[in-house]
Symmetry: C2
Subunit: 351 residues, 2 copies
């Protein structure tokens, strides 16, 4: 197996000196680009090592979290959301996964000349509604315009800062053998929705993106079990499989999940079967996976169930000492299969 | 004159329901887009009113500054710099202009499929060198890839956070009648360099972008005269004319500058004359304009001269009570002319 944290880029077996769509997938190629090109090029300017989705900063005695995301999703409007809402939720969730409460967002557009002002207005209104509903203000912005054909419509960057919640340990990102793996809601909805709209598959009437902010849910979990919640992660690009593999590598543990326990909506299962996709690799935008100490599992699950965004939360497996860095799934048939990280690109421009 | 802070978009006289290149110019159309479309669409989600280049935030009792910028400059490499260095300097300078010391940067790429990995490496190395030289770490990042033709190479977003320098008043953005207007260095170098390379004008051997970080200079100025420095601004897109006009409107003062005092390098003057450009509208990336109380002028100018980035600092004019919102220039001929904000687009993709 390729260790995404040490792999050089191009990843062995992929002969390229050019950026591939897969480098943006959130899977192994993405990890290789960050670890093999971007990290070494930044060198000492990035003292925390290869860039992560979010960073913890000590500024003036405060423990702050900073995260940045660009959004290039196509189509820009889809059942359940749009690029503006997605940008707000995605950045809020990256702050929340670090155990922090989001305090402010920035908003930067790169716009193609000729883009309809009305669509820009609708996207911005959606940013505004999502930010207001989440209670996180948009405080600063930037607008660049490039000529026709130099960008595809509009790209949105949101950067967020937040403050660590009290009592949360800054190294709360270490899963331990014996931890239960909890999932806050069904998987695959966002990716299948985007794909269905884009390809006109006809599922779009029955399905919608799960995009939603998770910071209130996270705050509650950390109130209930500040020391028992060891890891929080939102399985976006690359899906649940990529998140679990990353966590298995960074925490040096094995992960075992139960296929029968996985909440895969029927429409997601049908769409994935038809298209030959693995729901474990499909992007989510409104659920989180938590590694939780056994003694805290009941209280954390109960707390999740208090929230609409966690009402379908379930336990899907556990962290083990065996096979560190590897994720195994006990299948419906009773056998085990290795769950790999997404390698190339399954669904470009999913977020 | 159109008030950029209240103008609706489309600006009167410009009939369009589409985004124009000029909406990214940093001039009147940009101001109209922000005040007329983006601000109203964000509504209550942006409690500080129309988005500014940078915001002051009170988080956990600290006075922080946040700013975001996307960079789309073409060509990506030019005499004196490249898109990566420009991104670091531009964001550091926006933090510094708020009287803050930059603490951390985020880095987000939108990359076109097929982009050479080697060029991505060179750009990222430049980001790393610039960040290291400035003493500001890059702490988090994001990478998205879009298909061929969906972006022009690579777009870079940098977002910065910083902490207000001690003793600096949060409302230090009010120029007062009687203030002297100081400029830290020559104008027009960045814009003319980009244009010269892009159009093959032949000036590029004699000229280079002025891109440089100004946070150390700003720190010194605010040490020397914490209460005497009323406004700091880096005249980037839209040039010195646009910055002065914006400040005249927001502070409700008139501005008068002296043409003979303006530091316009000979190459900039020749290039602008040849191309019919006004050097006052050309973008800068390494100088600042300061409105300074009369009694602090000598000490602030002397402090500027201590730094390479301020060694050519000069006094170019003053703030007056007359003609609020308007900028006048006393010309070489002894007459007065109105200095307008840039209206449309002079040089697209300048930063």
């Amino acid at each position: 197996m390729i260790d995404p944290l040490t792999a050089t880029c191009p990843v062995p077996g992929v002969e390229t000196e050019r950026v591939l769509l897969g480098h943006g997938s959130g899977g192994q190629l993405s990890a290789g680009l960050i670890a093999g090109v971007i990290g070494p090029a930044l060198g000492a300017a990035s003292p925390g090592g290869p860039l992560q989705d979010a960073a913890v900063l000590d500024i003036g005695g405060l423990s702050l979290v900073m995260t940045t995301d660009s959004f290039v999703v196509t189509p820009r409007f889809f059942p359940g959301g749009d690029i503006g809402m997605l940008a707000v939720h995605g950045t809020i969730n990256d702050v929340a996964m670090m155990g922090a409460w989001p305090a402010a967002l920035s908003l930067a557009y790169v716009i193609e000349e000729g883009f309809p002002l009305d669509e820009l207005r609708r996207i911005t209104e959606s940013v505004g509604r999502a930010a207001l509903a989440a209670g996180v203000p948009v405080v600063t912005g930037d607008t660049k315009v490039v000529g026709r054909g130099a960008a595809d419509g509009v790209f949105v960057n949101t950067t967020g800062i937040g403050m660590r919640l009290p009592g949360v340990s800054p190294d709360a990102c270490g899963a331990k053998p014996g931890d239960a793996v909890l999932l806050s809601g069904p998987i695959g909805l966002h990716g299948v929705t985007i794909l269905s709209v884009r390809e006109g598959l006809g599922f779009e009437a029955e399905i919608a993106s799960d995009t939603q902010p998770l910071h209130r849910l996270v705050r509650r979990l950390l109130e209930v079990a500040p020391a028992g919640v060891h890891v929080l992660r939102d399985p976006t690009r690359g899906g649940l499989a990529s998140s679990l593999n990353e966590l298995a590598v960074t925490s040096g543990i094995g992960v075992e999940i139960d296929e029968p326990a996985l909440p895969v909506p029927e429409t997601v299962a049908s769409a994935c079967e038809m298209l030959g996709l693995d729901p474990l690799h499909v992007a989510n935008e409104g659920c989180l996976v938590a590694f939780v100490a056994l003694e805290a599992v009941d209280s954390v699950l109960a707390a999740m169930h208090e929230f609409p965004e966690g009402e379908h939360a379930v336990r899907i497996g556990e962290a083990v000492e065996a096979h560190p860095g590897q994720v195994l799934m006990r299948t419906l048939m009773g056998s085990h299969r290795v769950v790999d990280m997404l390698i190339g690109e399954q669904l470009p421009r999913i977020c």
